[in-house]
């Protein structure tokens, strides 16, 4: 967060980029729901990691491109990711301490 003189304004991506990202997001959602309905995967242990990965992908896409975090100053990335990581840690810690990992 060193002091930068007025940062060079990076142009916002064109509409075409946004449309392609929307298409990817839709595709991932369709895949997620499809996986949900495949009985072979539904009951197994592999369902959760796959779905978490896919949704993390959607999460990153929206945050980096729609919320313009990727081209923006690293200041915003820092302010957003620190609490995000903390929130993830809190989720894992509470699930562990309250005994939620039982299957």
């Amino acid at each position: 967060m060193s002091q930068e003189v007025l940062e060079k304004p990076s142009a916002h991506p064109s509409a075409r980029v946004y449309l392609s990202i929307a298409a990817i997001l839709t595709a991932i959602t369709v895949v997620e729901v499809a996986i949900f309905y495949i009985p072979a995967i539904r009951g197994t242990m592999v369902l959760a990691p796959v779905l978490l990965l896919l949704s993390a992908g959607k999460f990153a896409l929206v945050v980096m491109f729609y919320m313009h975090l990727k081209p923006d100053s690293k200041l915003f990335t820092a302010i957003f990711t620190a609490p995000l990581v903390l929130a993830a840690a809190v989720i894992l810690a509470l699930m562990t301490l309250l005994g939620a990992w039982v299957y």
Binding site: M1, S2, L75, A82, P83, L86, A89, L94, L98
Partner: protein
């Protein structure tokens, strides 16, 4: 406590009261915070006196059990949420913009909103006394004592909603200060050239921003359990009572760092000034502050060693809690090194800061004693912990804050507080504190648990409890000496120039009290200690070369605050109409506020 107005030219306005109600000037909001918090400090202190009077001797009947339980709950809640945090906020408000060379905070109206929500929240919480239903489940309010089954009255509703309101005030202020510190520093003031008080405040705001949502969620769960029959803390429906303890202490431990870090910043400003020497190891103090803030998030369950979480959890939380002693120890050694080789003047702020180091060390050590889970099995929930927490919160936070009051008073009001009365206040407080809280280590180890309205004579701790009561009365009286000092110097205090203590940071570069625009020209700094370094900063003329636009007042923040607190009052009264009406006031005020032309 109607403070003397800042410099006459800065506060011309039709009626004085209306100008205070609609003020958006960070300096006046700081004074409002300080005055309100000081009144709540006196209320909390009165509650402490009543508690000590009841515990003066075994089987005493000065107050009933119900009243005692309300007193210790309100003493804890008031001291933490209504006295200590707002007193720190008073200094954040007044001093941070001056230290970073800004004309005001980033969002002045949001700043006013924070204050009014805080004030109304404090009144909301204390209004419970008028209904004879003050909160009585402890400042921590463990689940299912707070459930509707075991606390059917409105006591807990007052407590939970009061904390929600105060949480909103703290969060709003935190966003404001983070934006101010990041974006409104004077040219040349890189992050590592910021004064240490602003650094510690910066870390504190990030802890507030991440910790308060957790207790907000915990309180929402509690309110849904009580009002809509939800099952969050209902073991019969599969709920786990430890969920509340985990969520509360996930907020609770970062909270105690919210309480102590600002004071560490204040002490780090006072010690160099009166040792005539720069702070020793500035970057180390800053990084250890950041380390305390982050590790502070990984230790919360040391409040729960007796709840049977299992050996693995106890081992981790015990080790992590001990780890925090290292950055704290490093700070203490750096403070002593600051004084080493200095030219030490024992003014009142300096005495309070030295006492802070002494007493906070004792509190830190007694803290490490129950960071170890097995010893905590004897110490938790006993008076040993009461001694520990008062050494770090009174000996630590309040001594530092009293020092800061005497240190920055001339800058805020233009007059120095009387040194002789200051020293009397210091010695009475120092002796009173030790006489009150040192015996409590022993009382706890000899078997007296916390929050008991009485104890049997055979327990053998009657004599020490009497000593603690005498000490508490001394402490109470010492605070009155400060009140007299304030009243005495309001008119007759020695005039303070720009820099009565010869300090090094930016807030001493303009007149006392500062003009409403703070700096006639925006300062440019080239060093961490601008006033002590040759060419450290540009010249600040007394009269601004060209007119400076000062934003006017606005009444939308106070109306929005009334709407918000009205909504909670409606919820408390289980009256949908009051809640909806208040919500309407809030929404209208927010819209009007958003569209009000307010030129920064």
């Amino acid at each position: 406590m109607e403070a003397t107005a800042a410099t006459p030219d800065s506060l011309e306005s039709s009626s004085r009261l209306w100008s205070w109600i609609t003020t958006t000037d960070h300096k006046r909001i700081g004074i409002l915070y300080g005055a309100t918090a000081f009144v709540f400090l006196l209320i909390g202190g009165l509650e402490a006196m009543l508690i000590r009077w009841q515990l003066m001797k075994p089987d005493n009947d000065f107050v009933s059990a119900e009243t005692f339980n309300e007193l210790f709950t309100m003493h804890g809640t008031t001291m933490i949420f209504l006295a200590l945090m707002p007193l720190s906020a008073a200094f954040f408000n007044f001093i941070i913009p001056l230290q970073i060379g800004a004309r005001d905070v980033a969002f002045p109206r949001l700043n006013a909103f924070s204050y009014w929500v805080f004030l109304l929240g404090g009144l909301f919480l204390n209004a419970s006394f008028l209904f004879g239903a003050a909160p009585d489940a402890g400042w921590f309010g463990y689940a299912n004592l707070t459930s509707i089954q075991y606390s059917p009255g409105v006591n807990i509703d007052f407590w939970a909603m009061g904390l929600q309101i105060l949480g909103i005030a703290s969060l709003a202020a935190a966003f404001n200060f983070i934006a101010t510190i990041i974006n409104m520093r004077a040219p040349g003031m890189k992050l590592m050239r910021m004064p240490v008080f602003t650094w510690m405040a910066f870390i504190t705001q990030f802890i507030i921003v991440t910790a308060f949502p957790v207790i907000t969620v915990a309180l929402v769960f509690l309110m849904f359990d009580r009002m809509f029959g939800a099952n969050f803390y209902n073991p019969n429906a599969g709920g786990d009572l430890l969920l509340w303890q985990h969520l509360f202490w996930l907020f609770g431990h970062p909270e105690v760092y919210i309480l102590i870090l600002p004071t560490m910043g204040m002490v780090s400003e006072i010690l160099p000034t009166f040792s005539r020497k720069p702070l020793f190891g500035y970057p180390v103090i800053v990084y250890s502050g950041i380390l305390i803030g982050t590790i502070g998030w990984g230790v919360w369950s040391h409040h729960m060693f007796a709840s049977g979480m299992g050996a693995a959890a106890d081992t981790y939380f015990g080790a992590a809690s001990m780890l925090i002693a290292i950055p704290t120890g490093v700070k203490i050694f750096n403070w002593i090194a600051t004084m080493w080789g200095g030219k030490i003047r024992f003014t009142t702020p300096m005495l309070f800061s030295i006492a802070f180091i002494m007493l906070f060390t004792i509190g830190g050590i007694s803290g490490v004693m129950h960071a170890s889970p097995p010893t905590d099995l004897q110490q938790t929930d006993t008076y040993f912990v009461v001694a520990h927490l008062h050494y770090v919160l009174f000996g630590g936070a309040f001594m530092g804050i009293f020092g800061a009051i005497y240190y920055w008073w001339p800058k805020v009001f233009g007059r120095l507080l009387n040194e002789r009365l200051g020293k009397l206040h210091f010695w009475l407080a120092f002796i009173g504190l030790n006489v009150t809280f040192f015996p409590m280590h022993l009382i706890g180890m000899l078997g007296m648990p916390r929050r008991v309205y009485t104890y049997s004579a055979e327990l053998g701790v009657g004599g020490m409890n009497l000593a603690a009561t005498i000490g508490a009365l001394t402490l109470g009286f010492s605070t009155l000496v400060l009140v007299y000092n304030i009243w005495h110097t309001a008119a007759k205090g020695e005039k303070a120039g720009k820099n009565p203590w010869g300090a090094a940071t930016l807030e001493w570069a303009m007149s006392s009290p500062p003009p409403v625009y703070n700096f006639s020209v925006i300062p440019e700094v080239t060093s961490r200690l601008p006033l002590w370094t040759v060419g450290g900063m540009n010249e600040i003329p007394d009269v601004p070369p060209e007119p400076i636009h000062v934003p006017g007042g606005s009444y939308w923040p106070v109306l929005a605050a009334l709407g918000l607190v009205g909504f909670f009052t409606g919820a408390l009264m289980h009256s949908l109409w009051v809640a909806l009406a208040a919500a309407a006031v809030l929404v209208v005020s927010v819209f009007k506020w958003a569209f009000e032309p307010f030129e920064m």
